[in-house]
Symmetry: C2
């Protein structure tokens, strides 16, 4: 900046202003400065800027794992909104561990981020305390709670599962099971599980433990989990899954057994994906746009960062139950 200032016949401060808030500088001055900057091949130093202003343009985004397509899609939604405003993302994978999440947040704090976008509303007590204390903007995503840290965006996983059970029961199911990954700290899962139990009771069915089947998030694991369960519980007539991967895996196994869908057995799940409308028969799924959740989360975070406190506390983006051939 000193060099540019010398070349343009001004001081460094005027250069700073010309570059960050051009309207504060007389047009001829600004033009001279811009020319000088280009001539010298100036690259601004955001690190120094952040230190001087104590305002960073970093946003921390924490997802369970970036390799699951739902999270990479929501990341893409966040990224496209933040990029326009000149924010950069510091991405963390907590691997579904709350302690790891807390560690990540603490370590990212050293970059003095402008805010956080987290997944779910379940966090370690230490993290809740920390985020309460430092009073930085926070958005929680993918699920709704009555008690968000600041604001949250997502849909009611409870209601979605309740509707899904209702749906398969209406379509003739009497013995549904819930096929899901086993991450006890995943509130999307626990809310769905509560809804599953509630809906079953409302139909006079006892939600015994053997109505929940755990599986890793791979097709092979879903296939063998389905195989094992159908062997032990041949009366099963509906499989509800926590992910499209598990739904497709279940479908493969059901097809292999030549069970007739949707009369002998039904399949439906969460997190619709293109594959679900391509497989034969195509699969009934709960859909909610991940890009939209991400984009909305980013906008809500910007509202908190820039807008002050007129921020909305809670945005329900809703969900759709897309009925297809498996029900």
């Amino acid at each position: 900046m000193e060099d540019i200032a010398r070349l343009a016949g001004v001081t460094a401060m005027t250069v700073s202003r010309a570059l960050r808030s051009p309207q504060q500088v007389a047009e001829p001055t600004r033009a001279r400065i811009e020319a000088a900057a280009k001539e010298l091949g100036y690259t601004p130093n955001s690190v120094a800027g952040t230190l001087a202003s104590s305002k960073s343009r970093f946003v921390v985004v924490i997802v369970p794992t970036i390799t699951a397509s739902i999270y990479s899609e929501s990341y893409a939604g966040i990224s496209s909104v933040l990029q326009e405003k000149g924010y950069e993302i510091l991405l963390g994978n907590n691997g579904y561990s709350l302690e790891h999440e807390e560690d990540l947040v603490r370590s990212f704090l050293s970059y003095r981020p402008a805010g956080f976008i987290l997944t779910g509303y379940t966090h370690s007590p230490g993290l809740r305390q920390l985020l309460q204390k430092i009073s930085l903007p926070v958005v929680e995503t993918y699920n709704l709670t009555d008690d968000p840290l600041r604001v949250s965006v997502g849909y009611s996983n409870f209601r979605a599962m309740y509707e899904l059970v209702e749906h398969v029961m209406r379509r003739g199911a009497r013995n549904p099971v819930f096929l899901a990954t086993d991450y006890p700290t995943n509130d999307r899962h626990t809310d769905r599980k509560r809804a599953f139990d509630t809906a079953l009771r409302d139909h006079g069915i006892e939600p015994t433990p053997d109505r929940v089947v755990f599986s890793d998030l791979t097709y092979a694991a879903a296939i063998s989990a389905t195989d094992r369960h159908l062997r032990e519980h041949p009366e099963t007539d509906a499989i509800l899954t926590g992910s499209y991967v598990l739904a497709v895996g279940a479908l493969f196994e059901v097809n292999r057994r030549k069970l007739r869908l949707p009369n002998e057995i039904r399949i439906a799940g969460f997190d619709d994906h293109e594959l679900c409308s391509i497989v034969e028969p195509n699969i009934t799924m709960i859909y909610s746009s991940r890009r939209h959740i991400g984009g909305t989360a980013a906008r809500m975070l910007l509202d908190q960062i820039e807008g002050g406190d007129k921020a909305v506390r809670r945005v329900d983006v809703g969900f759709e139950l897309i009925q297809r051939a498996t029900t």
Copy 2:
């Protein structure tokens, strides 16, 4: 740090040392400082540290799109290696546009990153020039070239495609087509295309333009592209694809037409994915671990950053042709 220093009865400089290089500080002093830091709830300021030392712990990673599973997997590989060393990632999506890539790099430069991990070896002239000039560590990934910017890690997409053509020809194909996405700046694609043409000529087949079919990267697009092509060219007896998504799409269409695999027609492609071994019949694919490419790239970057110039120029991670039922 001043506060900690006061509480521990030392100067800020000693605090700085105690925190960054504990072995330079007498143990009792270090313990006092640590206790004081904990008591005051000290959070280091990496921004100030970066400015003072002009050494950042940011690494810029640029991928075409994070929502494609191959890139999110390689990101995960990069991330797990860099995290151990205390580096953070600034992630950019270039959307397969070289100009966008150049813009991204220029804008990330303001954070004074320690290095770059890029996808492919094809970049805009401006970017090549820039990276040459600033002499920062760079690793190019996913493909090999004789002329890397600094170092590169990946496998020969040319050789892989050549082997794939050889393979289907050996299995009886005479009229192969190449089904791929249409990103002209994607050097993985252009190398595969060159190999496809070369291998065809080596078999006395003219690589006419209608032997290449373009499709978006969705199952639906792959299905309709396959449908269209098979209608116009019913003599087609092998479909080679640039992605598992296209391979699975092609398989669905081939199955729908009740063509017999692998006798009437064959399918094989790049970027093996679990789905390829689950579908019926399962699909022959080229495999190379994306996590491994990412992890290796990260290590090669660290070598440049920390190790000086003993860095390897080129790492060929190789590939496997996994034969399955479609050939």
